[in-house]
Amino acid sequence: MALLGSTTLQLSLAFCGLAFVLNAMYLANRDGRFFVGAQRGLIASSLLILIATFSLVHQLMVSNFSVEYVARYSSAATPTMYKFAGLWAGMEGSLLFWLAILGIYVILVNYLNRARNRSLMPIVNVVMAIVMLFFLMVTIFFENPFTMLPEGIRMQVRGMGLNPLLQHPVMLIHPPMLYLGYVGFVVPFAFAVAALTTRRLDATWVRSTRRWTLLPWLFLAIGIILGGRWAYVELGWGGYWAWDPVENASFLPWLTGTAYLHSVIIQEKKNMLRLWNVILIMATFTLTIFGTYLTRSGILSSVHAFAGTELGIWFFGFVMLIIVACVILVLMRKDELASRNRLESFTSRESGFLFNNMIFVALALAVLWGTMFPILSEAVRGTKITVGSPYFDRITTPIGLILLLMIGIGPLLAWRRTSIGTMRRNFTLPMGAAIVVAAVCMLLGIHRIYPVLAIALVAFVLTGIVVEVVRGIGARRRTSGESSLRAFLNMVDKNRSRYGGAIVHLGVLLMFVGFVGKAFTVEQDTTLRTGESTHLQDYVFTLEKHYTVERSNHTALIADIAVSRADKLVTVLKPEKRVYTDQNNQPNSEVAIYSKPLEDLYALVGGENPESGSVVLKIMINPLVQMVWLGGIILTIGTIVAIWPSRTDRRLREKRLA
């Protein structure tokens, strides 16, 4: 049945090519039959990709090891759900998965726009067809997941199994989310190109793609946060973000995407920044492809990277093609992109958004600079250097704090122009809160500049948000006499992007609190014999016993560590050191984590010393890590609030006014 997969993939390429040609003919002759034909060709191509994907999943499920990919990324002993995860464990499968998600987006976009945006859709489909063609060609000609093993060795192959690091529930969600995010940005990008080509540069394309941008942005955010979560519970170094090139590659489009989400508000409200928005979404899309390139080319050393292949040059060419095409298109339309409206004042929400945009882009450029610097250095000086987390922490922290400040200031400014009176009224309370919190921190003995600054800024932003919501509820109650809860719900529904945004900000604040916590992590490497104990802050860690357990595909050394505080037992941590027998005895650490609301107890067993009977342990106390995950959940809720159509939107849509 592997034949089914590889042939449908080739058919898909044929139909995608046909769709592209029909679309081009439609643009030349404007005969509607060609438009419908092209649309259907693209949908057929997408459906064929989905069939191919199901076929690969099927091969993985039935463990058909005569398919090379299946043999490399699963084994008969692999649990069923991780056999499924094999789909994105390797280069070939992940490219097919990328295509499958693109296919889903193509079908959805064409279905949801069946009666709308008719003048944009042909171009939108051309753009999506080009992207699809590229990935189809790469998959079929260079990285075909349906390649069969040579007859001779088929019978001996038992399957190498999935990398144990990837055998974690988070790994079932993290890659799909990331891909949904990455691929999703193709939709607003295609609309931007269509708006430019057809000269329909008003806010229509921006309105039409609002949800198409928010959704991939959210997926990308969830993907990034889950990646952090996975690193934290699986990699065993007590952190969640290492500024690894591949992490950065996913962070970059998220940053520019965030800038875009903010600046389109100005286009919707004031019909300004049309050029800037087009550039931002083009940059975001280019960065997603560039990220795919970074991951797959092997030009940067990274724990995530797939083995280096000759693919790099093709991806590089495609990225260059996108950049050149975008630049030409923008230059051709630059006069029409100029806005006619004006800004009223520096002290306005609009200019706040402009500064916010600049900081997001500066942050993205700084991260990009750091990520690419080793390549630059090697090219210029011929010396290999490392640009690791100490560099990025140093560079991004001040920019992050400025961003935090802007999150606070922005919503306190009025649209158009803020008078002195308004400023005084809005800033007094948040500023007061910030100063008080900073003073309390100092009194509590925290003298490090960045943490105090960060906490003070969090207080500043938080107070701003709370005051705004409380005042809003009050205002609604005065005018409509509703109960507080009803007033709150109605207020949110009346302006979902604003309050959804406020909730997202709340989530980001919590995450910043988590980042501050990272500065207060304490850790200890120690070697303990049974019955011995060690102190870390006010906890006592005692090694109760250690023993070896044989399981189906691995052997585990387990250490039972009793943790007590003030002579009271808190928990028993049971970290494991596993050796996977089906993976050439690859070792892997299973972290033991005990989460309390404000701190995590984190333990790792490094190995056993057979002579002395002692075990090597690493223990950490990570304060406030939970805030990062909680912040992620709140960010998700906020984005959903913003995406969900309000009653007003639904009513306007019936009148075709939205």
């Binding site: 170094w237 009223e344 200019s351 945009n357 290999k384 560099y391 922490d393 140093r394 560079i395």
Partner: protein
């Protein structure tokens, strides 16, 4: 003025770990810091502090020994660079060509900020535009109609 502003921004970026302790560092803290500044020489996949490999373990023990011998942080880093090359450092030293790595981000931020200021002041409307005059070209009834439509749409 400009120069000073730039210098102070650059200083913030170059300043030592502002997240880190300000009090003089004990041996343990120095050991920790070095463990984060030196990459694991097995695969250069992370600093030795985070890395779970024999090579990383060896480096940690070496650092402890060198510190016990009374070597300073810089001396120890120099030794590792001499053995493994600059790649061993988790972040490049802020000197020579590598200074660029540290100068670029604050420069981008500063130039970006100036660009925004320039852009805003260029497209800024004159201070108090007499918008009320403009609105007189419409009759009250026209406005009433608009208000009515707004009420009906109930946005």
């Amino acid at each position: 003025m400009m120069k000073r502003a730039f210098l102070s921004i650059a200083l913030i970026f170059l300043a030592g770990h502002l997240w880190g302790q300000s009090d003089p560092m004990g041996k343990d803290a120095l050991q920790r810091e070095l463990e984060y500044e030196i990459m694991a020489p097995c695969c250069y996949g992370g600093p030795v502090a985070d890395h779970d490999s024999d090579a990383a373990q060896k480096v940690k023990e070496q650092i402890a020994r060198l510190l016990a011998e009374g070597k300073t942080k810089e001396e120890i880093l120099d030794m590792y660079v001499a053995i493994y090359g600059e790649q061993i450092l988790a972040r490049p030293r802020a000197q020579g060509f590598n200074l660029l790595a540290y100068i670029m981000p604050p420069t981008i931020l500063l130039v970006g900020g100036l660009l925004v200021v320039y852009f805003v002041s260029r497209i800024k409307a004159p201070a108090s535009e007499p918008s009320s005059v403009e609105s007189t070209s419409y009759s009250d009834e026209f406005f009433k109609k608009i208000e009515k439509e707004m009420q009906e749409l109930n946005i």
